[in-house]
């Protein structure tokens, strides 16, 4: 492997195509994939220190044990557990989420909204499995930052016992940035 191919490339590998091609992706499901890491306390503490969440279910083993038997993950980490590292021994991971594989003209993305439902606690040591489905691709819309398409993805999370843990509907905007208006910065 050459030096240059080992460069860490953080840019997303997007698929390009037309809106008509993108529409054929509606209904596409990913195979169920095990999240890379089990629910672990180190990652939980990193996350809670970010927004300074002092909830004892995330920090205090005795308090958490009385409610759940163990420390639990904050619900806000659902998408964190879904994240993939950009490299592993099988090679670079070029399609971290299904939405980036939908062919469209836009050369960048920004996330817009989420709708998450939580059914069961995520306990230390649990390993989640996630299945994604493209549920909608909008017609072209113009926004303040540029023109593009809204991609809606549904992610369903189960634990290692096959129990439904959570469901998350995510809307991402795939767009071409508009030239900024004079003086808008």
């Amino acid at each position: 492997m050459s030096e240059s191919s080992q460069k860490v490339d953080l840019a997303l590998k997007l698929s390009f195509g037309t809106y008509e091609q993108a529409r054929t992706w509606v209904g596409t499901k990913s195979k169920a994939r095990a999240c890379e890491d089990d629910i672990n306390w180190s990652a939980i503490k990193d996350f809670c220190s970010l927004a300074r969440d002092a909830n004892p279910n995330y920090w205090d083993e005795d308090a958490a044990r009385s409610r759940y038997g163990t420390i639990v993950s904050p619900p806000g980490m659902l998408m964190v557990w879904q994240m993939r590292r950009r490299w592993n021994p099988s090679g670079p991971v070029e399609d971290p989420i299904l939405a980036t594989r939908v062919p469209l003209p836009g050369d960048t993305i920004i996330n817009i909204s989420t709708d998450s439902e939580f059914f069961r606690p995520m306990k230390l040591g649990d390993r989640l499995t996630v299945e994604e489905e493209i549920v909608d691709v909008s017609a072209e819309k113009r926004t303040r930052i540029g023109a593009g398409h809204f991609i809606t993805t549904l992610s369903i999370f189960h634990n290692q016992h096959g129990e439904l843990v959570a469901r998350n509907r995510n809307v991402l905007f795939r767009f071409i940035a508009a030239a900024p208006a004079e003086g808008s910065r």
Binding site: F118, R144, G146
Partner: protein, 155 residues
């Protein structure tokens, strides 16, 4: 609103529609964005690379979705207490929240009801900056009742 300490148990019977939640103020620094990227393992360049963010027609590096999940859950969760169960959260990010902005939250109980015998509340949290509304969320919690044994039952 009843005078209840942070992280204390809050019972459904003690809540009224219209109750307001304490404000949280947090400046957005580049350091916060670095912490955000690391803690959420989100290395999309818009969250740490100023040139990339500007190429997206955004003022500067901006906070990610998972940051807002953590922030609104903390704002509502500090109030709801450790016996509450978050059953649903809807988040809309209306404008990027960038380095240099200061976030102020505004939150209140917008709905107080019973469903399937359980005490429910909906809390609306807005994240405001100098540039206006950055994000808003509606969080649905199941709260314990006074009659429940302490702490809340193991699920």
């Amino acid at each position: 609103m009843s005078p209840i300490g942070k992280q204390a148990r809050r019972c459904w019977e003690d809540v009224l529609q219209g109750d307001t939640l304490p404000e949280v103020v947090m400046p957005v620094t580049l350091s916060l964005c670095v912490l955000d990227a690391a803690a959420t393992r989100d290395f999309f360049p818009g969250h740490h690379d100023r040139d990339y963010a500007r190429g997206q027609n955004v003022r500067d590096v901006y906070l990610n979705t998972m940051f807002f999940h953590g922030l609104v859950d903390r704002v509502a969760g500090d109030w709801a207490g450790p016996d509450a169960w978050l059953s649903r959260r809807r988040l809309d990010m209306t404008a990027p929240v960038c380095v240099g902005d200061t976030m102020r939250t505004k939150a209140q109980v917008v709905r107080h009801y019973r469903e399937d015998g359980r005490g429910m509340v909906e809390v609306k949290v807005q994240v405001l900056t100098e540039h206006g509304l950055g994000a808003k969320a509606t969080l649905t919690y199941i709260l314990p009742s006074r009659a429940d044994a302490e702490p809340g039952g193991v699920r």
